[in-house]
Each structure stands twice: as C-alpha cells, then as structure tokens.
Symmetry: C2
Subunit: 213 residues, 2 copies
C-alpha cells in the first residue's frame, strides 16, 4: 500500500468521478511548489498525497506526463484570471497589469517556471516555426498586456485604444513581457542578488520600455 493509513477515503458518488481529476491537479501543483521541482510530480507521489491507490490516476490521465500538462494548463488559466482582475482595477491599467503579472509569478515561482521552462521537443518533430499567437498557451494573457500597452501608448497621442494591432505596440509589449518575465524569474531564482525595491524596478522597466504619449 502506498498511502499512510490515516485517511480512509470514500469513493466519489456516481457522476462525480471527475472531482478526483481536480484533486490530482491540485495535489500535483502543490508538490511542485513544495519541492521546487517538477520531478516531485510522480504518479505515486500524487496518489500518496491525495490518499488514493496509484492506479486510480489512470482513470483520469493516460500517463504521468499528462498530469504536468494539466498543471500547466491550469496555471495559464489562473494567470489569465489574475490579469483580468488587474485590468478591472481603476487608474493605471498598465502598471496594474504588470504588477499582477509579477505577483502571479512570485507567488508560486516553481509553477511559473514550469509554465515556460518545460522541455517539449518531441525528437524528430519539425523545427518550431513562428505560429500565430492565438495558438499558444498564454496567448490571451499576452493580449491583455498588449491592450494595456496600447492604452498607455495611445493616451497622449489621440490614438484610440484600438491600436492593439499596431506592430510597434506588439514589439513594445514583447519587450515589456520579456523584461517582466526576466525580473520575475531572476528574482525567484537569485534571491541573494541585491535587488532594488520591487516597485522602483518595475516602474523603471515600464516607464522606459513603453513610450507614453
């Protein structure tokens, strides 16, 4: 037996089997964050954490990799939700979105790392080429950043917010994304660096990278 005798789990009722799926993803996510390493997400480890037998997982995931896939998909949904919340706030839209992005990453840094840092090359697959942004995980999150950049960039110039599709806006948003990602990643993985105060560095990045007005 794999689980400690503590919790005698009773099966979900009929039709509620998919609850276990959510529990599996949550447990895997927690294991990742606690151990700091996606290798902590093992089939047996997840089963142990929830208090089920290891083979029970196969009803919901074809193999162990699929669990990590689900963790990542879940994380992208959470990120998008966080940016939506931030967009709803009053006042400085761009600043608010940027702070939310960095907070999301720093709150659960290992989960964030895995969102972007997972190796995915199927050997023998065709070389990755640029693809339309809509097809990518995180595409909607990126679009929220583009919108916020467009709002600030257009502010002083009488352009309307619809300038989302301006290539300059896209490049500026890309530059900003890159900087936010770099900051969040390094802050988490090199905590001993003498970082300037978070709000100061964030303001520097946003103000310099995004031409306003």
């Amino acid at each position: 037996m794999d689980r400690p005798g503590s919790r005698p789990r009773r099966p979900n009722r009929r039709g509620e089997g998919s609850r276990l799926r959510a529990e599996i993803v949550a447990a895997a996510s927690a294991l990742l964050e606690e151990n700091g390493n996606e290798d902590a997400i093992t089939l047996r480890g997840v089963a142990r954490a929830i208090g089920i037998a290891a083979p029970s997982i196969y009803a919901h995931f074809p193999d162990v990799d699929a669990i990590l896939d689900a963790v990542v998909a879940d994380a992208f949904e959470d990120l998008d939700a966080a940016l939506v919340d931030a967009s709803a706030a009053e006042g400085d839209l761009l600043g608010s979105v940027c702070r939310a992005y960095v907070s999301f990453a720093l709150e659960r840094p290992h989960r964030y790392r895995v969102m972007f840092g997972r190796y995915r090359a199927e050997p023998g697959a065709p070389v990755n080429r640029p693809r339309p942004i809509e097809e990518l995980s995180g595409a909607t999150a990126f679009q929220r950043l583009v919108t916020a950049v467009a709002a600030r960039a257009g502010a002083g110039r009488g352009r309307d917010v619809g300038s989302d599709r301006d290539p300059d806006t896209a490049e500026t948003a890309t530059a900003l994304w890159v900087a936010l990602h770099g900051y969040a990643s390094l802050r988490a993985s090199v905590p001993a660096f003498p970082w300037p105060p978070e709000d100061a560095l964030l303001r520097t990045l946003v103000d310099r990278l995004v031409p306003s007005g």
Copy 2:
C-alpha cells in the same frame, strides 16, 4: 556492465587522473543539452557516455549532485569568458556585450536555464537575504555588464567610466540584465512566439533601458 563493449578505455597515466574529471563535466553538460533536462545527468548515464564504470566517478565527485554543481560552475566561467571576448571588440561596447550574453544563452539554452533555474533551498536553511554581489555566481559577469552600461551612460555626460558604483548605473544594469535574461529564456522556451528580429528587439531593449548621454 554499463557500457557498450565498443570502447575499451585505458586508464589515464599516473597524475593524470583529473583528466577524467573534465571528461565527466563535459559529458554531463552534453547530456543536459541533448536531453533538455538536468535529470538526464545521472551517474550511470554519464559513466555510460564516457565509457567508464559508474563507481569510477566517485573518485572525482562525492555524489551525483556535485556533477551538476560542476556543470554550472563551468558554465559561469564560460559566460564570463564570452563577455570578456565581447568587451575586447571595438566599437559599441554595450551592444557587443549584450549580444554576447544572448548568444551565450541561446547557443546552449538548457545549460543556460540550469545556471539560473536550479532549485537550491536546503530545507531549514536561513532565508535568503541580499548578499554582497561579489559572493554570487555570475558576479563577475554582471560586473562586466555594469561596466558597459556605465561606459554608455557616461559617454555624453563627461563622467568617466569609473561611475561603475553609481547606484543609478547599478539599477540600469539590473534592468538590462533582467530584460536580456527574459529575452534569452523565452526565445528558447517559446520558439513558436512571433518574435521580432533579434537585433531589432535587442536594440529596443538596450536603447530604451539605458539612457545614453
């Protein structure tokens, strides 16, 4: 036996035992890059790649983690060397250093990822606090960036290059580092994103983040 019968390796001569150490690090580094994952660095896998018996590694490393430590230390030395080379070039110092940094990262992206992305919390260790920069891996590499930033920032203003210690310079260098790291990381891990041309994005980052003159 762990190795394929192919290569009958003969022992190094006396006093040259440490050659094997270098071979181990090189093989581990190659395994990391080929498999995209530091888990590919197993004691047995490394031994197999070199054509030695697994226990032979213990003469040079106390355990398997120490191999990865050595790979990372080696990588930081290489990075510093690359930046030194770039600094020696004529013309645009800052541009040259930034291009070298990104090239280093993109040439062996998995090695680069591991340099910064490794989980290192010894459970129960005191919380990481800011430490003097000199104590960190990569400190000399960062200093080369600071110097290049100072050179450009001071250029038009009659300040001399000695302005390395200006806190503004340090913050600007930090902002730039963060952006370069973010770009290199994301370019490698999200190749399908519609990236703008590398030189254009790099120029945008450098020109906007580093006030010149």
